[in-house]
């Protein structure tokens, strides 16, 4: 990394908003090559407090650190300039986190609100158990994307791996490419949209009619994800057959 990335604008978060405004719209740059992750996350967490602080942040030299920008709870923008490790933006609330690289497992796990995006690929379990907010993967998503999702919306520009939307309870998963094996296994009330092929559907997941209201829903999700060039009418919809909601011995073969 060149010297430029070592720039470190040391505007104290604890100095309040006025100190930030003194450097205009300057972005608070934190270089993880010199700043410990703990310090970065603590400063980002402190933004939820009464003192507030800078609203725009840029993290350089992330070098695949785990737990980057996790537990945020303020309306701030954080740009990660490189690759992130496990659990980037985990349990996010309110914040907008953008990864300009690839992200490791558990990206935006259990997100509550706000939005998280990754320019590259996301490893397995992206958006796991997420309860709200929007996750956008501009590359490919690996296995178990949207596993256990509970209200999050996930839009994948590329394809999603096997066991995606496993036990998906609520929310929407949109896959513009293909979906791997066992899509939506043991799904509850989440809605799944896939434009390409589906290798196989999991237990109790079935194709359903794509009605106008679903096209409208898709258009809105794609727009919010910044994917205006994708035709919302070109998707197929999948959801729960609701056959396994009550345990019946006659269904035992389904597992």
């Amino acid at each position: 990394m060149g010297a430029s990335s070592r720039r470190r604008v040391r505007v104290g978060a604890r100095d309040g908003v006025s100190a930030t405004e003194a450097v205009g719209a300057a972005v608070e740059v934190v270089d993880l090559a010199v700043t410990p992750l703990r310090e970065l996350n603590q400063r980002l967490h402190d933004l939820a407090g009464p003192a507030g602080g800078p609203r725009r942040w840029r993290v350089v030299n992330p070098n695949g650190e785990h737990a980057l920008a996790c537990g945020l709870n303020a309306e701030v923008e954080v740009e990660v300039d490189g690759h992130a490790g496990y659990y980037c933006a985990g349990m996010n609330q309110l914040a907008t986190v953008s990864v300009r690289g690839n992200a490791g497992p558990g990206l935006a796990e259990n997100m509550m609100s706000g939005s998280v995006s990754v320019d590259g690929n996301a490893s397995q379990s992206a958006g796991a158990s997420g309860r709200g907010g929007l996750l956008v993967v501009h590359g490919e998503a690996a296995a178990r994307c949207g596993i256990s999702m509970k209200g999050i919306d996930i839009v994948v520009r590329g394809s999603a791996g096997h066991m995606s939307a496993f036990m998906a309870q609520r929310g929407r998963l949109v896959v513009c490419g293909d979906a791997g094996n066992a899509l939506g296994d043991s799904i509850y009330e989440a809605r799944l949209y896939v434009r390409g092929s589906v290798a196989s559907l999991g237990a109790d997941c079935v194709e359903k009619e794509l009605r106008d209201e679903h096209v409208d829903e898709l258009r809105d999700l794609l727009t919010r994800a910044g994917l205006d060039d994708v035709d919302p009418a070109s998707f197929r919809r999948y959801g729960s057959a609701r056959e396994l909601y009550a345990f019946k011995v006659d269904n035992a073969a389904a597992y």
Binding site: Q93, G106, A128
Partner: protein, 445 residues
């Protein structure tokens, strides 16, 4: 039943292999075509703390004055990494039990009772209720495979975090809550449709294996700014290895739940046939901690079949820092009360036998989501009973510790114990009473 007059005793011999309970279960299975799901823990006889005895002081050891000299009971959990460890006044905590499995007033009572005597209570598979947070001075927040109700606000409100890998009643199994207990409120907290049979995941959605667990714990520490102790709870199976891996993954506290540990709803076959008893599990956990030089640095909580102060004292003597109670806490609050015998009989059970905690029809108002049944339960009275029971457990453990000459319950040690059976001697690695024989050991301890 045939009378002895008409049948000779030889023809009335009951088969050991096919006893009346076994015959009834075969007939039920053939009739219903589904495995038996029930609450409670293992019912079979297992090697347990009853198979150990404490050696009181005599000439070579001197006792403490039973009614006068101080015997400490405090325990601090989470001294390894956490900025704010849990300071408990007694070495007995309340185990994780979900709102869903238990009614809201029952959860409140657990918090009231635990807080009154200075110990902690624990959430469960389904999230944190406002009632239990309000009434629990110290509340441990569970992060389970299902992640039902999990949210960072509650995580930050908690006093400690417990990553649940498994529980003694069903190591390797996920939670289960049958449809009749999924009320509007439970469904809302869990993001599920009302009334479905909820069978939750047995694996965490975003980590697999010890290396991932270490990173997961790191994330939870980051989110909570390294303030809160992080517990890892495991069902007792390969306990020596699991404890070692959990310590290496960065846990502050290890919770080991033996196979006698209770459950609100699990297959009977799972409860009775998976896992190892609490007795060997304690010893294996302590072995792992000693080997890593982490005994007393990473604290050990043991659960699964703790009923009395004797169980507490013996678990601590084997090296645990604290114990947890679940089933016993429910009984203390009024579960299986003789006063409800008639109502239990209407449900096909009787006081002292009721284990249909999965059914949601508990006349005590504890293991139910029915508003009318839950309203029968008085959380203040329940809280007082929990506090009373916890006090008795503590007083009993102190009595035994003083008799062994210990000024703190943590000073109890394996040397204070002998075993009544060869099995218990081998599992607890203490000598068979009256001998210096520890089966499996090369010589005297």
């Amino acid at each position: 039943m045939p009378s002895p007059d008409s049948h000779d005793p030889w023809s009335l011999r009951e088969s050991y292999l096919f006893d009346r309970a076994t015959i009834a279960e075969i007939q039920r299975a053939a009739r219903e075509g589904i495995y038996d799901i029930r609450g409670f823990g293992a019912k079979r006889r297992l090697p347990h703390f009853d198979d150990l005895l404490l050696l009181g002081a005599s000439i070579s050891r001197y006792p403490l004055e039973g009614y006068r000299e101080r015997c400490g009971t405090d325990v601090t959990l989470g001294t390894h990494h956490a900025k704010t460890p849990l300071e408990l006044k007694i070495p007995v905590t309340i185990a994780g039990m979900s709102f869903g499995a238990l009614s809201a007033p029952a959860k409140e009572a657990l918090g009231r009772g635990a807080s009154e005597v200075g110990t902690s209570t624990t959430t469960g598979d389904g999230g944190m209720t406002a009632e239990e947070r309000e009434h629990s001075k110290l509340l441990v927040y569970q992060v389970l495979p299902s992640r039902y109700g999990l949210n960072p606000d509650d995580l930050r409100k908690a006093d400690a975090v417990e990553v649940v890998v498994g529980q003694g009643a069903k190591p390797g199994g996920g939670g289960m809550l049958l449809g009749h207990k999924i009320s509007d409120r439970v469904a809302g907290m869990r993001d599920l449709p009302k009334g479905i049979d909820q069978r939750s995941a047995s694996r965490h959605p975003d980590w697999t294996g010890p290396d991932d667990l270490e990173i997961k714990i790191g994330e939870l520490r980051e989110i909570t700014d390294w303030e809160k102790p992080i517990f890892v709870k495991i069902g007792a199976t390969r306990t020596y290895y699991d404890v070692g891996l959990a310590v290496k993954a960065g846990a502050d506290v290890i919770v080991v739940d033996g196979m006698q540990g209770g459950t609100a709803a699990t297959q009977d076959v799972f409860i009775e046939h998976v896992g190892i008893p609490t007795l060997p599990a304690v010893r294996l956990a302590v072995d792992a901690l000693l080997e890593l030089d982490m005994h007393r640095k990473v604290q050990l909580i043991v659960s699964g079949g703790i009923r009395s102060g004797a169980d507490v004292a013996k678990a601590l003597a084997l090296g645990a820092d604290a114990v947890s109670i679940g089933t016993a806490a429910l009984i203390a609050m009024g579960d299986n009360s003789p006063e409800l015998d008639e109502e239990y009989r209407k449900l096909g059970s009787a006081a002292g036998f009721y284990d249909d905690w999965q059914a949601g029809r508990d006349p005590a108002g504890i293991s139910t989501q029915d508003d009318e049944l839950a309203a029968r339960f008085d959380p203040e009275l329940g809280g007082r009973r929990i506090a009373n029971y916890l006090r008795v457990l503590t007083l009993e453990a102190q009595t035994l510790a003083r008799a062994c000459g210990k000024s703190h319950v943590h000073n109890l040690e394996p040397e204070d114990l002998v075993a009544l059976t060869v099995e218990a001697a081998a599992m607890a690695r203490v000598p068979l009473a009256g001998t210096n024989w520890i089966p499996g050991s090369n010589g005297p301890a």
